[in-house]
């Protein structure tokens, strides 16, 4: 594994540890319902401060069950992850394609140069050297 990959894996491991630690250390144990959403807690806090407050609008569509809701959340994550993966895959493919094209050119140029060296006029050798110079 290259150093680069190691650093990337390490970053992911730290993120995973940050997510797992609160669960492993039981930091939600003091609550009636551990690890609920902060937005739900804020709703409770609002009703504590202003017991008469009634939400004056309700969502147009509400997922009918927790399963549907978690499904839609994973859809959101999957869409995002799909686009990100497409981006990096495309970039990698392009980079490899460019590299291969360069290698092919270099091989072709080397072949030309060899055959050109045998030739007294060595026209093709000169031409490919020129094109190499242009590229670099």
């Amino acid at each position: 594994m290259s150093r680069n990959t190691k650093v990337n894996v390490l970053l992911l491991l730290v993120v995973a540890a940050l997510a797992v630690l609160p669960l492993a250390l039981g930091l939600g144990d003091h609550k009636e319902e551990p690890f609920t959403g902060a937005d739900g807690e804020a709703e409770t806090a609002i009703t504590e401060i202003e017991p008469d407050y009634e939400p004056w609008f309700s969502p147009l569509y509400e997922p009918p069950s927790g399963e549907i809701e978690s499904g839609l959340f994973s859809l959101q994550a999957a869409l995002g992850a799909g686009v990100l993966a497409y981006y990096f895959g495309l970039r990698r493919g392009r980079r490899q394609g460019e590299q291969r094209a360069r290698e092919r050119d270099a091989e072709g140029a080397a072949g030309d140069a060899e055959s050109g060296a045998g030739d007294a006029e060595s026209v093709s050798g000169d031409a490919s050297e020129e094109s190499m110079a242009e590229r670099s």
Binding site: G37, P55, F57, Q76
Partner: protein, 233 residues
Amino acid sequence: MHIAEGFLPPAHAIAWGVASAPFVVHGVRSLTREVREHPESTLLLGASGAFTFVLSALKLPSVTGSCSHPTGTGLGAILFRPPIMAVLGTITLLFQALLLAHGGLTTLGANVFSMAIAGPWAGYGIYRLLRRYDVPLMVTVFFGAFVADLVTYCVTSVQLALAFPDPSSGFLGALGKFGSIFAVTQIPLAVSEGLLTVLVMRLLVQSSKGELTRLGVLLSGRRNRTETEAVAR
């Protein structure tokens, strides 16, 4: 975690909507200009929006024993500047409000203000500030994303405290209450977001050097570049 549907009094909901609208309109203009002038950046724009999509769907447990999610807005703010993030953040919030009953349409203005405007600008500000002092790129990216995430939830707490001041301890009392729910929960998540943003930026440095140089994230001959960039803007 955004303010739930119907949980801001109408006057506040409208005020935050009015405050956010110009930023979003300006953002749409910057976005169309960016796409028109640099069609090749469309892909990276999509990737930045996708990053926000992924991160704001990830509900993570935190030290307070509750859950919240990162925002993912720091990356786009650093790459394309904050106005464009106002648009990408709004799209994410709309998706969640319409399909997931998470956040809401009446609270959209307030949530856009915290997540798509205040957070990205704060993160971008820190990023630029640290860049000026020649702090290594990845460190500036970490703090940019960290601050963008944390400020989002501090603003959410302020918004709720303004709408629901505590009867005995007033605005500050309520701010302490909402702050302990949102902002404290968010600290470890903001660290996670910073690390994930650094990860994506490392991959981008590997794969998209040209793009990052054009956007001024990677600088060759740092001083000169920043100056010409400042002049161009």
